[in-house]
Point group: D5
Chain length 90, copies 10
């Protein structure tokens, strides 16, 4: 099952800690991409936020993936459950 | 450039005309998929609406693609311009 | 997977047709209850709307259950995907 | 009388105190489940929030149950009073 | 249990039918006042709407009272469940 | 002239100071009740907020009554001016 | 007591009837100005709407003034009760 | 050109500094009244906010007047540009 | 003085009349451009709406320009008054 | 491709640091104007915010321009992608 997820970073964006946090976030995102959980990720222009396309067995598995992100304590998430569409080219 | 587009159908959903319209829509969606304009399409559960992932040179080209849909006169669109993200697995 | 669904009736509520529609709705709701798809249903006081607790394999299966309701063409739905909680008594 | 309640945690989620608080919360939730006050509880995916199904004599009794939660000072609640529905399978 | 209810009239306000409807509404409001169900009623200035203070055993009984109003098919209702307050002079 | 007022407490709810503040608030509420200014008061279940029914000569007099509350610096108010309704039982 | 009132015209704006209606509206506005009820009136640019400054004994008297407007059945009103300010130059 | 301006005070309202600030605000308001820039000012009941009627050559001149207020750093403003209305009694 | 104006077309977009209307609209837009009133105009992608940059002496003159558009009876407008900025390159 | 961007300053506006920041912002804005990226800039009256007209190859290039602003860590941005309109005088 796929989910569209809007992630908004709420932590301030300038300290050294944040650089470490972002490196850890990139590493975890790569792991989630390798396991087929994180399919796509886009920046929202002008915002400290992104849209992601995720795949998980159900909402419980998605929640576990999102809480595994190093930025989880510094972010808010908006989750859209997706159903399959007959015209989907994907 | 990619765009996330939420399309909401506003026409009533039960007449014979609508069946013809939906067939024409499926055909046009397939064309837009072949040209690499429509990348993904999902139903929003419980809604007469969908999320689509689109690719176009710019907002003008996207507008032309959306207005080429047979359902254009019977739909509303919400367009989110996307920027590339360094962690995108896509 | 469970879903919380708010259903709002948009059709006018007084003609004879509506009585037939409501009887068909009750029958279909009973079928969905027997198959374990519709678990609970409550009226929202003062509103032509209800909250329902639904179970389905995923968002696609939920969408099929909702579109099988006789009132589907006369209703709007708002779907909340649910994850399991360690403190759930259920 | 049943109520649907959306509870949003507003306290930061990482200190040791919070672990103690969550243990106390689980214990109080179990008590409220045993007394038939808390019927169901679900996580909202991607959110520090949950949906709960509660039973209480009236709004005053519900308010007392909610304020008895250890997380009460660190949470916001949105209460939906429920009426019975003839098609309820529950 | 008391409820604060905002009622918005959605029917057009000028025909002869409406005069009959309003007379029936006044009569039913008087009955509900006599039974202790409708306690107070105020016009919202500049609006075809009112605030009412209602008393009912629970949300199901309130819903029955509201649907008994002749204006029910031509109105929308917003219901606020009330809990008792220690400082209430009433 | 009567007013419906929603009061939301914005101060944190746990220190000793707050207990003193609440005692002072109860005393002032009793005075305003005796003078016929505060007519009714209800808790909003699950919220640090209340609905009150107030009577004052005009909006200026109401503002003076609200600012005389000890909780005034720690609260937000939403004021609804009320007009008389011919069906009011009160 | 003064009120700030936003009036939005909801009727279509082009038929001959509307011209007659607008003439009647201008006449009634002049009467309300002479009686000191309507103090000021401004167009909201780009909108079929206006802001007005009104004076009335209370919300009931204001409601009567607003319902006396010929455009009443074709308009929506948003009423802001005003309190006096010590810095008011007026 | 006239403007309707809603000003919301965002600073806390109890320290000695605030008393000095309010005195300076009253003085500056009187100057702006004498120059014909500030025409009327009303308290919004129950709120730390006011509605003002202002006159300025254009939006740039209005912005300069608003930023000249001592409370400018502690306030938010919502500006409504006004057009003349043929029925204005003013 | 400049204004940013969002114009939303509310008329259905497919009949022959609309073609005539759009031709008249293009002609009037050209006139307003020649007089320096309409400075820029953009389509909002996926919407029957546009953003325009307008110049007028004040809100009254802007309102006259907007109501001179052939699409005026079939459109809604949202007007943002603009002040000059020291960093404006224009 | 052009974009309409609403920028809201979220930092407090009174310290010496802010003066240095604003000077740096003016310098960077001038550079972006020279490169044809920032086309126009307006103050929103009564607000610590501005509307800007920007040109960039796509949303990714726009995001880079916005994050190059010295005020980026102290601002929020709302981006509107623009499509070309046949009636644009620009």
């Amino acid at each position: 099952m796929e989910f569209l997820v809007r992630m908004t970073i709420t932590a301030p964006g300038d300290s050294a800690d944040v650089a470490a946090l972002r490196a850890a976030e990139a590493e975890r995102a790569a792991e989630l991409a390798r396991s087929g959980t994180l399919l796509r990720l886009w920046r929202i222009p002008g915002d400290r936020a992104n849209w992601g396309l995720w795949r998980a067995d159900d909402a419980t598995a998605l929640h576990e993936a999102l809480t595994s992100l190093p930025l989880w304590p510094h972010a808010r998430f908006e989750v859209h459950a997706l159903a399959s569409h007959p015209n989907d080219p994907g």
